[in-house]
């Protein structure tokens, strides 16, 4: 691994004789992928089908049957009319709160993880292993168990029930994973690269921003996917640390879905879940394009 960013195009130069034999394995390949895609879609299919049905239809029908009519009312209700307590504003109430929490949390946690990973991987200093080990252990704590002391600490720091508070929480809980992700990535980069840059007079931050970050497209996308999904879908931390005015969308989702002794509207629940999942899904679609572009740019360079 001398050039980490150069892509693998193993078949661009393949011999013609191999092409015929490959035809059969190509079919097997597509069969495998299509089969996996179908199996992976089944739960989503059930959810989307159910979201278009009316409640009497759900009570009578089977889960795979097609809806009698394309009934959008459950979607409308989930977005803007479902009751989440006394307020009946649906999911829309928390959408912007979630965005306000998501954007700074994702940016800061990835930046912090990348910087830490870079420092730990490419700059030797005493205790680097101990730091990494200590950090990684943090990822294995079921955080529900440490809620109480964390609340006390955040209350002491005047961060409890505030927007900065919940952002700090997400950055902190993202730190172990993000650091590990970037450290493992940067560990594969030859130390000579950094040495050469230092000979040229570049400092710690300059090497990071001008050499390392531009090389990190692939891993940045993985980090983006992980953090966007994790933070957007977080429910408990938002509930506990964000405070009344910053409650994320998942709190509304939970309030719509969780049923005490009342009537359950499965169509609204399913629509609400799919709606809540749309932002991370959008990130997957968009980042997929950059994913490819990142490789292409690497190809030009290499």
């Amino acid at each position: 691994m001398t050039d980490n960013n150069s892509p693998a195009f193993p078949f661009a130069f393949s011999a013609a004789q191999a092409r015929r034999r490959r035809c059969g394995s190509r079919i097997a390949l597509y069969l495998f992928l299509s089969g996996a895609a179908v199996l992976f879609s089944i739960p989503l299919l059930i959810m989307v089908l159910t979201s278009f049905k009316s409640m009497p239809e759900i009570r009578q029908g089977t889960i795979f049957s097609l809806p009698a009519a394309l009934d959008l009312s459950a979607w409308v209700k989930a977005w803007s009319g479902a009751c989440t307590g006394l307020a009946c504003g649906g999911l829309s109430v928390g959408f912007w709160n979630s965005v306000r929490i998501l954007v700074p949390s994702v940016v800061l946690s990835i930046l912090a993880g990348a910087l830490n990973g870079y420092a730990l991987a490419l700059w030797r200093f005493r205790g680097a292993h101990a730091v990494l080990t200590a950090l990684m252990l943090g990822a294995f704590i079921p955080y529900q168990v440490i809620l109480y002391p964390l609340v006390k600490i955040f209350s002491f720091l005047h961060l409890y029930s505030t927007l900065p508070g919940i952002i700090v929480i997400h950055v902190v809980f993202g730190l172990p994973l993000m650091t590990m992700l970037f450290r493992n990535f940067y560990a594969a980069i030859p130390a000579e690269l950094v040495k050469a840059a230092r000979v040229d007079g570049a400092g710690f931050f300059r090497i990071f921003f001008e050499i390392m970050l531009p090389m990190s497209t692939n891993i940045l996308i993985v980090a983006l996917i992980l953090q966007t999904t994790g933070i957007w879908n977080d429910y408990l931390l938002g509930l506990i640390f964000a405070g009344h005015d910053n409650q994320p969308m998942t709190v509304q989702l939970n309030n719509i879905v969780t049923n005490g002794t009342g009537i359950v509207e499965y169509n609204v629940n399913m629509a609400a879940t799919v709606l809540t999942a749309l932002p991370p899904l959008a990130v997957y679609f968009l980042s997929g394009r950059y994913f490819v572009r990142g490789i292409a740019s690497g190809a030009v360079k290499g």
Binding site: S41, P142, Q144, N184, A188, M270
Partner: protein
């Protein structure tokens, strides 16, 4: 290399944060596990009482054992499937973006409701079994979710569905980073492709695979949402896991002493399982 002030300067805040937000609470949790704390923490020492009670609780035994059954199967299957999918996607196929998104979408779904879709799917009276029987196979039997001895495998199934897309994405990112010279070399040598993947590429991807393993193990530790949504620990307590046990104790049962003791045991177990491998790995790649 000699020491670098700037790099240390960057790491110091991290150390501080890690201590304040992880280690101080862990120390607190360990302390509480030696008390009789109920709904609120109490600071009267009660020795090993919480641990003795835990050892005598049958439900904890089930949960503890399930962590291994679930953990091994889930990590194994998710890695294998994720790797195969990544390799398949790396063959310059058409519609790569489509496949990648379909395989990755489960990750974006909150288990609060997705679990319900799975419940319906696995429910013998309305799901897969019902469908296949309607189609003519009258004896088709798929009732794992209601069988105490099999239900844990349905949790593995849903967890693999949820996470193998992530493994695929990370390994794919790794594959795309592999030097094309290696491919040229194996091509020249005439080594079959599957062997190249297995004996050359896979060892190269060791740090990437390690990342996946750590991510998956974290999911095992935090497998709370999934279990609650799919079976809520049932039938009986056949699918209970330590994460759910701890949280049930802490909130539903208002017994944070017992919850803390369970959390400490859980943490120690994970450390014992992960640390040697992790330590060796950082030593090796860290030079």
């Amino acid at each position: 290399m000699r020491r670098h002030k700037t790099a240390e300067f960057v790491i110091v805040p991290t150390i501080a944060v890690v201590f304040i937000c992880f280690y101080a609470p862990i120390i607190w949790t360990i302390f509480i596990s030696f008390t009789r704390s109920g709904m609120f923490p109490s600071y009267s020492f009660s020795g090993l009482m919480q641990y003795w009670r835990l050892v005598g609780t049958e439900r904890w035994h089930t949960a503890f054992l399930n962590m291994f059954v679930f953990g091994v199967l889930f990590v194994g299957f998710a890695l294998i499937l994720g790797f195969l999918l990544a390799v398949a996607l790396d063959q310059r196929i058409r519609f790569e973006g489509f496949f990648r998104t379909v395989l990755l979408y489960p990750l974006s779904m909150s288990f609060i409701v997705t679990g319900l879709a799975w419940q319906w799917l696995l429910n013998p009276a309305m799901g897969l079994q019902h469908l296949v029987r309607e189609a003519g196979w009258d004896n088709f039997l798929f009732d794992w979710i209601i069988r105490p001895d099999r239900a844990i495998y349905t949790i593995v199934l849903a967890a693999v569905w949820h996470s193998s897309g992530l493994v695929m994405a990370i390994i794919l990112a790794g594959l795309r980073g592999v030097d094309r010279d290696i491919w040229r070399a194996t091509q020249v040598e005439g080594i079959p492709r599957w062997r190249t993947y297995l004996s050359i590429i896979l060892p190269l991807l060791r740090p990437v695979v390690l990342t996946c393993v750590v991510l998956l193990i974290i999911n095992v530790v935090r497998s709370y949402d999934l279990v609650v949504a799919m079976t809520n620990g049932g039938p009986g307590n056949a699918t209970d896991v330590p994460g759910k046990f701890v949280i049930d104790m802490a909130f539903e049962r208002a017994n944070i002493g017992q919850a803390s003791a369970a959390a400490v045991i859980m943490l120690l177990t994970v450390i014992a399982a992960v640390m040697p491998y992790f330590y060796l790995e950082t030593r090796r790649t860290g030079r």
